[in-house]
């Protein structure tokens, strides 16, 4: 547990969070390398299956980062993503994975600071939760 480095998958919308990550880089803002970014054309593109598969393949935490409410490039993909995340949270509980391991976050393309802050906060939260129960079961 002491050396536990969580693997976190972040599904980032091309129009906001992905650009915000770029912005964080340009601003030389550090954020944990635990966060593995998957660029998506819109957070609404992220399917329940993508999220569940990430956990199955060994992710300790997953978050979906979409545009600020009302600012989706495709009208309301971020609202759909938020509803989907809520749905998958319930499914994770059924499976026996803590639903806190999955989050929906919103940010704009200019929020490099927020990107770095969210990445840090979520990494710390997952670090405190420990390895995903699925990963622990595989290790045993």
């Amino acid at each position: 547990m002491e050396n536990f480095e969580p693997v976190i998958v972040a599904f980032c919308c091309h129009y906001c969070a992905y650009t915000a990550a770029d912005m964080a880089g340009s601003q030389r803002l550090p954020y944990p390398p635990n966060v593995k970014i998957v660029q998506v054309p819109c957070s609404g593109k992220v399917d329940a299956l993508h999220i569940v598969t990430a956990f199955e393949k060994g992710a300790d935490g997953v978050y979906v980062a979409g545009c600020l409410e009302g600012d989706c490039h495709f009208k309301n993909g971020n609202e759909k993503a938020a509803r989907r995340v809520d749905y998958v949270k319930k499914y994770l509980e059924e499976i026996g994975i803590e639903s806190e391991r999955l989050e929906m976050v919103n940010m704009s393309a200019g929020m490099g600071h927020r990107f770095a802050q969210v990445a840090t906060e979520i990494t710390e939260k997952i670090r405190n939760l420990g390895p995903s129960p699925v990963k622990t079961a595989i290790a045993q």
Binding site: L49, V52, E94, I95, I97, V134
Partner: protein, 222 residues
């Protein structure tokens, strides 16, 4: 379409616990449309079951396959090459599909992964509502295209009961009074005379009252 909902994961785990190799089947028809048992739901369930079983210390093998139509024998035949490598089958199709698999593969345990619910229509994205009970003697022609069998809680045939208030059924404010809907529509169509037609007590023999039903088309049946 026939609508369905996935059973709780806990119940499904109980079914498959004794087995190692599971064939998880979806159906491309109704259950795909109502997002209960299509290819995507099969993937989601396979992943969920795999993780839940791993957590319980069971490493199982789940093979996924989605048939075009599970209630049709010709599509079920597709499973012949893969059935031997499975200890049990779990089907996400409606009850008809599950039974078709059970009938074809007599030596394989078959478990349902969904609860088949009703014949319904889509009200809007993600919402399905009951519209037909398959009573075998359609009344829609005299009820303005609104079914009192499927949509009236009491299945009344000649107008509303005393529980109809402000267009709602007494069982819930979320349920429309079917007879209010029927009257409003007949009035809008200028067909109020139809409302006066006295419908005799329904003969339920065509609606399952005389046992399981069957349709035989002489020109098609082999």
């Amino acid at each position: 379409m026939i609508t369905a909902e996935r059973k709780p994961l806990e119940e499904l785990i109980e079914y498959i616990k004794p087995f190692k190799r599971i064939l998880l089947l979806g159906c491309n028809e109704c259950v795909t449309v109502c997002a209960a048992g299509g290819r995507k739901e099969v993937g989601l369930l396979a992943s969920g079951l795999q993780m839940a079983m791993l957590k319980a210390g069971n490493n199982i093998e789940i093979r996924q396959h989605t048939l075009e139509r599970q209630c049709d024998p010709e599509y079920v035949e597709e499973l012949v090459p893969m059935i031997d490598s499975a200890d049990a089958v779990m089907s996400m199709a409606c009850g008809c599909g599950v039974q078709q698999i059970a009938m074809r593969f007599k030596d394989k345990p078959v478990f349902p992964a969904v609860n088949t619910s009703f014949m319904g229509a889509s009200e809007r994205q993600g919402v399905w509502a009951e519209r037909c009970q398959g009573c075998g003697n359609c009344l829609l022609g005299i009820t303005g295209g609104i079914c009192p069998i499927a949509r009236c809680a009491k299945q009344l045939m000649n107008g509303p009961c005393g529980g109809s208030t402000g267009g709602n059924c007494e069982i819930s404010e979320d349920v429309d009074c079917a007879w209010q809907l029927i009257w409003d529509r007949l009035k809008a169509l200028g067909l109020q005379d139809m409302y006066l037609e006295n419908v005799p007590a329904k003969d339920w023999r065509s609606g399952g009252g005389s046992g399981p039903r069957k349709i035989i088309r002489e020109d098609l049946a082999e």
